[in-house]
């Protein structure tokens, strides 16, 4: 992997790439951290009418600052509606929510995610993690799941210790066979190395573009399963100056997500 481009750091690149995946005029339930930074950036660039909802109940707020919690006051500001978690989750279940955007601890080639535990004995985990939170529900019920996560062998694993949040489960048709709503599933995974989609037939992860300076081998070396690669395999477009300015000045001036500016 080559040195980082001095114009932007990896977090900035990931947030900018993530923001571009969100279509205007769609609904999205977004978690805190990088997903929300991406959504805010999208609203300020290509998707001004992206409708952001928080699982705790706020609907279409006017976001003025990154919240610490999906329930805190910064999710409330200028909202169209203050509702409740069941309202949000039932909107997802009814098919009204286009995107959800999650982070992850472990992820496998079908986009299944583990945020519950590391280890083999459920009642005595080696590392206990938070559990599903709303992630299982959102990835089950929204139409398209986006994931943003660092890319290394510890995270991109062949076998999850615990399948918390459904991707395509064991492959094509498995979600529907399990009883999950038809037609949903992982859409894109934005990593430190690449923008990754899913092969339309096999539902396996397929890198769609490599970030500037990243090689195929970098991806292979950092992935514990066999990654597919799209052909052609372009370079991920770099963040534009406008994106970077808005991200740094308006979305995350305190550097919670993208780090402190020099």
């Amino acid at each position: 992997m080559s040195e980082a481009n001095p114009r932007y750091n990896l977090m900035e690149l990931m947030v900018c790439v993530a923001a571009r995946q969100l279509e205007d005029g769609k609904t999205a339930v977004i978690g805190t951290g990088m997903p929300l930074a991406a959504a805010m950036l999208a609203q300020k660039t290509t998707a001004p009418n992206l409708i952001v909802m928080f699982e705790a109940g706020s609907i279409a707020p006017t976001l003025i600052k990154l919240p610490v919690s999906v329930a805190d006051s910064y999710t409330h500001t200028g909202a169209i509606m203050h509702s409740s978690m069941d309202e949000i989750m039932e909107s997802c279940q009814r098919g009204l929510v286009d995107y959800t955007f999650l982070g992850g601890a472990q992820i496998d080639m079908y986009g299944n995610i583990n945020t519950s535990m590391i280890g083999t004995d459920f009642q005595h985990p080696k590392v206990r993690l938070p559990g599903s939170g709303g992630a299982n529900d959102l990835a089950s019920l929204c139409w398209k799941t986006l994931v943003i996560t660092p890319h290394d062998q510890r995270r991109f694993v062949r076998r999850l210790d615990f399948l918390t949040t459904p991707g395509y489960l064991t492959g094509p048709g498995a979600r529907e066979a399990a009883g999950l709503p038809a037609g949903g599933g992982p859409y894109k995974v934005i990593t430190t190395l690449a923008l990754i989609g899913f092969h339309p037939q096999s539902k396996r992860m397929q890198a769609e573009s490599l970030h500037p300076g990243v090689s195929r081998q970098d991806v292979v070396d950092n992935t514990d399963f066999k990654m597919l690669f799209a052909d052609p395999l372009p370079v991920t477009p770099e963040p534009t100056e406008a994106e970077l300015r808005i991200l740094r000045e308006e979305v995350d001036p305190q550097g919670f997500i993208i780090g402190k500016q020099a």
Binding site: T32, G33, F54, E55, A56, G57, S58, I64, K65, V68, S69, V70, A71, D72, S73, Y74, T75, H76, T77, H82, S83, S84, M85, D86, M89, Q93, N112, S116, F122, Q123, H124, P125, V127, R128, L129, P130, G131, S132, G133, G134, A135, N136, D137, S140, L141, L160, D161, L163, T164, T165, L169, T170, A174, R175, A177, A178, G179, L180, P181, F256
Partner: protein, 329 residues
């Protein structure tokens, strides 16, 4: 981890009964009398939170939580509590610091959202001290909703096909109309719960500003309910804005006026979270001795929540957090 074509048989323990007939019988005899329910937090916890009870905490972990009641549960050294771990962050951290719980329905625990993971909560769960059953935020919330609706179960469409399902106490069922597979989740009737609200009258009529999270349903699911409130108001003030009322008085067993009662959590429209103090919690938890000294200072060494607030800077600090609150009126 899931095998292809595998049929998952849930193996999680069900910590509370979804028997709606028993719940109806309880609610039948619960008093609807119009009586003054104001009391101290100490009295409320002493009277309504019993060792071994199944407990539920309102709000969202670090937003609109009833810190005063959570501290008092620790201070009174309540033990063997069951817990509904519904978006449990700082509330979970407090109860685990007091070693108060021995079983937990888990949707979200250990983490504090963007702030990171609680080292002590991790240690406690990794030690095997807590029997765990897995859920998700929606399904655990819908378990309250089933109870609130007076139903023994509700269908749902998430969780199926995952290890959350495997370690849950949910079941798979077939829709009587469409024939499709559905998740069936059992009603959850906690023995006692606490909700922190913006205003309540002496009888328990309560109003919350901002998002409800899962409190509407939780208030109705709990057999006993403690309300802590930023302010006690007159019933006339409640009646002047009846669309804001989320909890009518006959659901409530205790009303405790606790100004800044969600501190160090955020209270929308009132004060923002004290991120410094929450970071301090995460820091001291790194070793057990440090945590014990911290608890001795802030919880065991204080008589009540008021003394804790004073240690944390009292009205001056609360004023600062009020200034930081974007919805401050």
């Amino acid at each position: 981890m899931l095998e292809s074509g595998e049929s998952i048989v849930p193996q999680g323990e069900l910590f509370s009964s979804p028997d709606v007939e028993a719940a109806r019988a309880f609610f039948a005899q619960k008093s609807r009398a119009l009586i003054d329910k104001r009391m101290t937090v100490r009295e409320a916890v002493s009277r309504f939170v019993h060792d071994g009870a199944y407990f539920a905490s309102g709000g969202f972990g670090g937003v609109r939580i009833s810190t005063a009641v959570l501290h008092e549960i620790v201070r009174q050294r309540k033990t063997r509590l069951g817990l509904s771990g519904h978006t449990a962050t700082h509330d979970f951290q407090i109860l685990v610091a007091g070693k108060c719980i021995d079983r937990c329905d888990i949707a979200y625990v250990v983490g504090l959202e963007r702030r990171g993971l609680s080292p002590n909560a991790r240690r406690y769960l990794e030690s095997g001290a807590v029997r765990m059953t897995e859920w998700s935020n929606a399904t655990l919330g819908w378990r309250y909703k089933a109870a609130a609706m007076g139903l023994p179960f509700l269908p749902a469409r998430s969780v199926l096909g995952t290890d959350v399902f495997r370690y849950s106490a949910a079941k798979e069922m077939t829709c009587p109309f469409t024939g499709q597979k559905l998740l069936a989740i059992p009603a959850l009737f906690p023995d006692v719960g606490v909700i922190h609200v913006h205003r309540a009258d002496q009888y328990g009529n309560s109003q919350v500003d901002g998002i409800d999270i899962a409190d509407h349903d939780m208030a109705r699911a709990c057999k006993r309910l403690i309300v802590t409130t930023e302010r006690i108001v007159s019933t006339e003030e409640i009646r002047a804005n009846p669309s804001r009322t989320s909890i009518p008085y006959w659901l409530v067993d205790a009303v405790c006026e606790v100004r800044y009662g969600s501190y160090p959590g955020n209270m929308p429209y009132e004060y923002y979270s004290d991120e410094d103090h929450l970071a301090e919690w995460l820091e001291v938890e790194k070793d057990e001795a440090g945590l014990q000294a911290f608890l001795d200072k802030y919880i065991f060494g204080t008589r009540d929540f008021q003394e804790y607030l004073e240690l944390k800077g009292g009205e001056t600090r609360m004023g600062e957090l009020g200034e930081m609150e974007p919805l401050k009126r």
